[in-house]
Amino acid sequence: MIKSLDPRLTRENIEENNLIAPLTPMDNWETYEVFHQKKRGDQHMHVGIVHAPNPEMALLFGKEQYGRRSITANIWVVKTANVFASEYDDADMFETTPEKQYREAGGYKVMDKINKYKKANKA
């Protein structure tokens, strides 16, 4: 029998050469993607996954995994299998040629302009 410092384990009377049965498909539930909203009106942000047998239980677990450590207004769960995603092999379609960099939002230094305007109007 396994004797552990943890009295709960000792109480279980587990054989020393206890064979751990291999997992069968039903041992693992499907995954759900969890989206967390801080306050009403904010966007829901993807925060991770939980394993669950149905959407209700995914919500149950999502609340504890991701809602417990920060302010939460709302949680969404979406079955991972229902997410339609692009292929990493096609990642080259997101690349931009150097002459099209004007399209990138980073090109607009809006904040600089706003600050400059604010400064000018304060004076």
């Binding site: 709960r8 047998p53 209700e56 149950l60 677990f61 609340k63 504890e64 995994q65």
Partner: protein, 251 residues
């Protein structure tokens, strides 16, 4: 206000929460899946916190510090119902107890949210959200397992049968029921039990589980007077082991 009556009420509630909180925490690290392990442990922690809030009220009424009360009494001095001290058994029994106890707990605190004893009403309003999640968790599991497959249904029904008379022991009446009612502190165990039966019945029906026939009901009483099963003493020993090493230690 009858302080003795209020103390009796606070003690049984605090002890129920402390003992079931400790029992449920025994699943930490051993739960059936990681997500459930975290959720169940987190709720166990909530319960210990809720018991602490009640021990704090007792302290304000002249009893000793919460830690002293929680960790230095012997089993006979505990007022919890026998139901909460029973060993965890398999997860089916733990879940069934979680369901039967937590619904009763939520209803009790709902009744107390309007108590004339304002400090307790305040605690009741503060923990409302925690209790809502606990009952949501319990209901979801019970309905899911009650109707999942033959094995899960059979196991949940057995757990319900085994738990039933102990669960009825939660509503053991104290010596001060009338004082508490007359002073508007608490509407009493009889009213709570009635409300509890009305609340759990639709959920159990949805789970296709059957409440044992009323002719077989034999509430396990005595816990409120310090009469316990042989399971409480080792629990109290284990729970207070670290505290007793050095009661003056700062945490």
């Amino acid at each position: 206000m009858n302080t003795t009556a209020i103390k009796e009420l606070l003690y049984k509630m605090a002890d129920d929460l402390l003992i079931i909180g400790h029992r449920n925490s025994e699943w930490t690290g051993l739960g059936p899946i990681l997500e459930e392990d975290i959720a169940f442990s987190s709720m166990a922690q909530d319960k210990i916190g809720q018991s602490q809030a009640l021990f704090q009220l007792l302290h304000e009424l002249g009893e000793q510090e919460p830690d002293i009360v929680a960790f230095t009494r012997n089993a006979k001095q505990f007022h919890n119902a026998q139901f909460v001290e029973l060993p965890n058994g398999d997860y089916d029994f733990s879940l069934m107890r979680h369901f039967l106890y937590d619904v009763a707990d939520q209803l009790r605190f709902e009744m107390l949210a309007n108590s004339s004893y304002e400090p307790l009403a305040k605690v009741a309003r503060k923990i409302k959200g925690e209790l809502k999640y606990h009952v949501f968790h319990a209901n979801t599991w019970i309905v899911k397992l009650g109707s999942a497959n033959e094995e899960s249904k059979a196991r949940m029904q057995t757990a319900l049968n085994d738990a039933w008379n102990y669960a009825l022991g939660l509503f053991e009446e104290g010596d001060f029921e009338n004082d508490l009612k007359n002073e508007g502190v608490f509407a009493g165990e009889v009213a709570l039990k009635q409300l509890w039966l009305e609340t759990i019945t639709p959920t159990l029906t949805k789970a296709t589980l059957t409440i044992p026939h009323v002719n077989t009901w034999e509430p396990k009483l005595g816990g409120r007077q310090g009469i316990h099963t042989e399971h409480l003493e080792p629990l109290v020993e284990e729970m207070s082991e670290v505290f007793r090493v050095d009661p003056s230690a700062e945490w």
